[in-house]
């Protein structure tokens, strides 16, 4: 017989896990979904941020979530510079499809090898004061190791959505995804807007890195676990839909954990990715994407 407490815990822990997937996917949703830049190195950038944060926080005791907020602008600037290179050598020449993909794949390898050379092959982690603690809501347990990154993730996503809707640059980012030529009529430079947006996506990778290092230790190759998941979440949501990315990530997390609880963890990826296939079969544009005319 199904144990309702077990199911309730599985749903709640799935929501917390989904929040981690959401912040890990949100940057890719901006770069891939809105800018059409398939940044396959996004999870590696997230792990890079985790390692930098671990190096900063492990000896000082500084909180990794706060550290993520501090290093996010630096990552944003690096991302902006990276986009300029990508634009100069690939996008401007119309080579962004396969060669651009190869560029980001190569970048992923370079990041991973650099991490091994700089930080070694061992796992990196940060001890936090809340690491082993849990909050109890009746029979439902909320480990702070998962809860605080989830709250941080939701806060950052809310701020991002607000910025995209309220600010001129934010609206321009949404516009550049749809019609870059029309954007010129408004006096905005689409390349500058895309530079800002790509920088933002890399800054989000830094914040996701802060959340990740609280949730689990990382090594140089930890990003591999997330490549399939973040791409699946972005596609499941529908390209360009940021609220949809949040919902898809939460659905992904809940399905993984409920399946693990009811049928065993070996079935989790199979069921979650089957959902992706089913949604794509029924709604090729994703759950929240707009159908092409």
């Amino acid at each position: 017989m199904l144990d309702p407490v077990l199911i309730a815990n599985a749903v709640v822990s799935g929501l917390l896990l989904g929040c981690l997937y959401a912040i890990a996917s949100m940057g890719l949703a901006v770069s891939f979904g809105m800018l059409d830049v398939v940044n396959i190195a996004h999870p590696a950038m997230m792990v890079l941020a985790s390692c930098v944060i671990a190096a900063l926080c492990a000896p000082t005791g500084f909180d990794p979530l706060l550290a993520a907020l501090l290093i996010a602008p630096v990552f944003g600037l690096l991302g902006a510079g990276l986009y300029r290179l990508y634009h100069l050598y690939f996008e401007r020449r119309g080579d962004e499809a396969m060669q651009g993909l190869a560029f980001f794949f190569g970048l992923m390898i370079v990041i991973e090898v650099s991490l091994v050379l700089v930080y070694g092959a061992d796992q990196r982690w940060v001890e936090t004061g809340y690491g082993g603690l849990s909050l109890g809501l009746g029979p439902v347990g909320l480990p702070l190791r998962m809860l605080l990154p989830a709250l941080m993730s939701l806060a950052c996503i809310a701020a991002l959505l607000l910025w995209l809707r309220r600010s001129f640059t934010g609206r321009a980012v949404a516009a550049v995804a749809q019609d870059r030529d029309a954007l010129r009529f408004l006096g905005a430079d689409p390349i500058r807007i895309k530079t800002v947006a790509f920088g933002l996506s890399v800054a989000l990778a830094a914040i996701a890195g802060g959340c990740l290092i609280v949730v689990q230790p990382v090594d140089a190759h930890s990003g591999h676990v997330f490549i399939g998941r973040v791409l699946a979440v972005v596609i499941l949501a529908g390209l360009g839909s940021l609220p949809g990315t949040l919902v898809a990530a939460l659905v992904f997390g809940v399905i993984e954990n409920v399946t693990a609880t009811l049928f065993g963890p070996a079935w989790s990826p199979a069921v979650a990715f089957s959902l992706l296939l089913a949604v794509l079969a029924l709604r090729p544009q994703g759950m929240f994407g707009r159908a092409h005319a």
Partner: protein, 421 residues
């Protein structure tokens, strides 16, 4: 060198092995001629690098030692190695390159079953003698005659591996009646779980939870919650380093309790994970290959650890060296002795020498059966006791990793219950 070894001959070899590890640099004739090139791949990056890098360092210590002693067959030794990135798909290409392009004279394996098995077809096709490191019955399928495996799991891993865990549990009062099993869906862990099921049947213990999880698992709380819900007396995990941390963290957060918890966890042996988990390791009963207890001393072990730790300190590598390094050094000692006994680089003669006689090494005397596995398995189970904070120096001292099984190495008493009170 044919026939059975005499007691005197064995004594000489044992002394030589101990002295080689102890002195490192003896007075010997300088090696002459072209160096003997020993080729292998090793996980220097990726998930298994935490064990691969220390293993390589131990092999380099051996190379220094043997060159200082006059080399192998009078020639110096040179290691030729490549990073297989913990990816089995890279291994066949590396060994093909080692044999065809680098023209190495001898080959040894990478670390672990997942990286040994992909090399086997290349090795068998070329008829090379092959000393492997920490495989789990890898040769069971290939049945290749020219191999020896430096791993204490023995020939019947799917039966014997968990025996120690259940023998220890038998001493609990009241006797445990239920068991939960969870492990990674990989070759080593699957064999470990199979052994746990076999032993549970033998001991009349009912399995109330039995699941494998995929390598991509991020959140271990559903597994731990399901185990907690089943309320078993014993919990047997068969995990790899990243998931061992995830499982133990989730167990702590969700307050999973058991009369005994541990099993075939690969992870707590890794220095970085010892530092990370610290006191959370207390009362964990875990499979291991070596522990610095007074009951488990062999000629040369302490001297090797001193040499290894000095080298590791200089290179910024892991400094405990208790898991893969002694076995990696023993791997090279077995190769050295087999080549010396064969008297040449003839691969068939070296392969035959691997199975004929005992090999004195820094991890004790090793004897291999025809499949290359140890004639007698030596899975040890230790319990972490009295660990405080995250200081690594405590793990160099006796008393923190108390050996509970097998009886001949037993160094202390079981502290029942997990987590520690």
């Amino acid at each position: 060198m044919n026939g059975r070894m005499t007691r005197r001959g064995f004594g000489l070899l044992a002394t030589a092995a101990a002295v080689s590890a102890a002195a490192g640099r003896g007075v010997a004739q300088a090696p002459a001629g072209e160096p003997i090139r020993i080729g292998f791949s090793m996980p220097l990056s990726g998930a298994l690098a935490g064990n691969g890098r220390p293993a390589l360092l131990a092999q380099q210590v051996w190379a220094e030692d043997i060159n200082a002693r006059g080399g192998l067959l009078g020639r110096s030794v040179k290691l030729v190695f490549y990073d297989d990135q913990s990816n089995g798909a890279n291994v066949p290409g590396i060994y093909t390159k080692l044999l065809d392009v680098d023209k190495v004279d001898l080959v040894i394996s990478s670390y672990g079953t997942a990286l040994i098995a992909p090399a086997m077809p290349v090795i068998i096709r070329r008829g090379m003698a092959f000393v492997s490191l920490l495989g789990s019955s890898t040769n069971e399928m290939f049945k290749y005659g020219g191999t020896a495996n430096i791993s204490p799991v023995g020939r019947r891993m799917n039966v014997d591996f968990a025996k120690g865990f259940f023998e220890i549990a038998r001493g609990l009062n009241p006797t445990p009646a239920t068991l939960s099993i969870a492990g990674l869906d990989s070759d080593f862990s699957n064999r470990a779980m199979e052994s746990a099921r076999w032993q549970a049947r033998e001991h009349g213990i009912r399995v109330v939870y039995d699941r494998a999880y995929p390598p991509s698992t991020v959140d271990f709380s559903p597994i731990v919650r399901a185990i907690r819900s089943a309320a078993p007396d014993l919990v047997f995990f068969a995990s790899y380093p990243p998931d061992s941390v995830g499982l133990l963290k989730a167990a702590g957060e969700l307050k999973l309790t058991a009369k005994m918890l541990g099993g075939g966890m690969v992870g707590p042996q890794v220095t970085a994970i010892k530092a990370q988990l610290g006191a959370q390791l207390n009362n964990l009963v875990c499979w291991d290959v070596y522990a610095p207890e007074p009951t488990m001393t062999f000629p040369g072990t302490a001297a090797f650890l001193d040499r290894y730790r000095a080298a590791a300190e200089a290179k910024g590598a892991e400094t405990l060296g208790l898991y893969a390094p002694p076995l990696a050094y023993a791997q090279m000692q077995v190769l050295e002795q087999a080549v010396t006994r064969a008297g040449s680089l003839d691969q068939a003669a070296i392969g035959a020498a691997l199975h004929r006689e005992a090999f004195p090494t820094i991890i004790g005397e090793l004897r291999f059966d025809q499949t290359g596995e140890w004639v007698e398995e030596r899975n040890i189970y230790i319990q972490y006791q009295g660990v405080t904070g995250n200081d690594l120096a405590q793990f160099k001292q006796p008393g923190t990793q108390v050996i509970l099984y097998p009886p001949q190495y037993r160094s202390g008493q079981l502290r029942p219950g997990f987590p520690a009170a």
